[in-house]
């Protein structure tokens, strides 16, 4: 049974006949085919649910082809389908002959990130009281800790706008993808803001990040906005970056 369902390629009716009883209306091979057909369809459907924009870009036929190749290369080894698609961007990047290869990869990276952020653990949010409690002397060594449901993306296409305006025009794009009130959302960043935010999110001391930046007011304005969006869960004065 395991072999005949999981084995790729059409299964011989002779093999099926040895294992499976016929029914009044179906041969053993036809009965096995019910399971085999559902297997491919189920996993392809799960991929499409997680990558709807990629599926739209590739079109029905090409996406179905990609899904069956993906399932062969990365069959599910987990009881959950939540992380089935984690290798989708990598496999897309390896394929030749896709119509819009770079855009496909970017859409997939974005959609995968959205799924991850959706399922992350909930975190508390950094409060103004916690910020006020930091000793001014310690700001230089303090480190910010982002919430769990937070990711940064550097992309070649504005994929966050793709759903509203499916355009294939390239444009450097920097995004913070995060969860607010249990909904996944994103925030478009300028390149310098992305640079600062990624260093802060990696746990670099605030002083080190600010060193060499002339327009600090601008950074403080960014920080206020980011904190209002709920990007951070804590500020740590000891060197306990995770």
């Amino acid at each position: 049974m395991q072999a005949v369902i999981l084995e790729p390629g059409p299964c011989g009716d002779a093999k099926a006949r040895r294992i499976v009883r016929p029914s009044a209306a179906m041969t053993p091979g036809e009965r096995l085919e019910v399971y085999r057909g559902m297997y491919g369809a189920r996993l392809a459907e799960a991929l499409e649910a997680d990558f709807p924009m990629l599926a739209g870009l590739l079109g029905e036929e090409l996406f179905a082809e990609f899904a069956s190749l993906y399932i062969c290369e990365h069959p599910s080894r987990s009881y959950t389908l939540n992380d089935l698609g984690r290798n989708v961007p990598a496999l897309l990047a390896k394929l030749d002959g896709l119509p819009s290869p770079a855009l496909s990869v970017d859409l997939a990276r974005f959609e995968l990130t959205v799924s991850e952020v959706f399922d992350e653990e909930e975190s508390p949010r950094l409060t103004t009281d916690q910020l006020a409690a930091v000793d001014p002397e310690s700001w230089g060594v303090a480190r910010l800790r982002p919430i769990r449901a937070f990711r940064l993306l550097e992309l070649g296409y504005p994929v966050h706008l793709y759903k509203q305006r499916p355009s294939k025009r390239a444009r450097r794009t920097w995004l913070a993808v995060y969860r607010r009130d249990y909904a996944v959302t994103w925030h478009s960043l300028t390149r310098p803001a992305y640079g600062v935010l990624s260093r802060l999110a990696e746990g670099e001391p605030i002083g080190a990040v600010l060193a060499g930046i002339r327009n600090r007011d601008r950074v403080f304005a960014w920080f206020q906005e980011w904190n209002q969006e709920g990007f951070f869960e804590a500020i740590e004065v000891q060197s306990t970056a995770r």
């Binding site: 049974m1 029914s23 069959p75 009881y79």
Partner: protein, 281 residues
């Protein structure tokens, strides 16, 4: 007649589905109870869990899984069971169920409820695993009869006797899916009435009802439609033989609005009122 663990007849429940989240949170419909798909809440810390916590505050909730793979030859997945147990504790699950099936082998998972051969050997195997799992969960496991699309030459038991014997030896509960009885009976030419009549009533903790898709040569258990009349008649037979048992309607494809699904579940009332209740032997 009551089941041997005294699990209550929770009434007429509905499977909790994402598309109904806003309606349920805003309207607080008067529903007897909800069944949730365990795996949808085990690896997420986001909105699903947040919604579930609120549902569990208002309604009795039962956990129903598809990934325990109780029939598999792979080692029992204790990491999975640990998460399942903690979810059950978190929402005060009234009981925890899964299916008599296997979902994969050698680490692979096909995310399907694959049929088991019904032999003395598979019976010993599954009984041993149910004991291990129930011990770990510290509660009796409840297992559902699956819809199946094939039978094995090696099977020496019919499904209903296998389930009865398994439940007795492993001391587990049964979730009797009446639609699955109908679907498998059609697919394999079994007698659905005989199936119902041979299931030990004191083991049955819960009933499932659902719609299906008739393909002519076989029926697929799609949960995509209203319950068909012959299945309602089987439900009446279950009631006459076993009395009131927590009854749940599953609807997973082409899911209509919540009120339609709930109304379908409440139809079950009609089939509980007519006919004599016979004490099961």
């Amino acid at each position: 007649m009551a089941n041997r663990w005294g699990y209550p007849d929770l009434g007429f429940g509905v499977g909790l589905r994402t598309v109904h989240f806003p309606y349920i949170l805003n309207q607080h419909p008067r529903v007897d109870w909800f069944e949730i798909l365990s795996e949808n809440y085990m690896d997420t810390g986001g909105r699903p869990l947040y919604v579930l916590d609120q549902v569990a505050e208002r309604y009795p909730v039962v956990l129903h899984g598809v990934s325990m793979s109780v029939g598999s030859t792979d080692p029992v997945n204790f990491e999975y069971l640990r998460k399942l147990k903690s979810l059950a504790q978190r929402i005060n699950a009234r009981w925890v169920s899964d299916h008599l099936c296997w979902t994969g082998v050698a680490g692979l998972n096909v995310h399907d409820l694959l049929p088991m051969p019904y032999t003395d050997e598979s019976l010993r195997h599954v009984v041993e695993r149910i004991r291990v799992i129930s011990d770990f969960l510290e509660r009796p496991l409840v297992l559902e009869n699956p819809s199946t699309y094939l039978e094995f030459h090696v099977s020496t038991w019919n499904e209903w006797d296998f389930m009865a014997e398994m439940a007795g030896q492993a001391n587990c509960g049964l979730l009797l899916d009446v639609n699955n009885v109908y679907v498998s009976a059609f697919n394999h030419g079994w007698d659905a009435n005989a199936y119902i009549d041979r299931i030990p009533a004191d083991r049955v903790v819960q009933i499932h009802l659902a719609g299906h898709t008739h393909k002519g040569t076989h029926i697929l258990d799609t949960h995509s439609d209203h319950v068909v009349d012959p299945v309602w008649e089987l439900y009446r037979r279950v009631y006459q033989r076993m009395g009131g048992i927590a009854t749940l309607l599953e609807w997973d494809e082409d899911v209509p609005d919540f009120e339609t699904v709930h109304a379908e579940a409440l139809k079950a009332r009609r089939y509980r009122s007519s006919g004599e209740i016979r004490e099961a032997a």
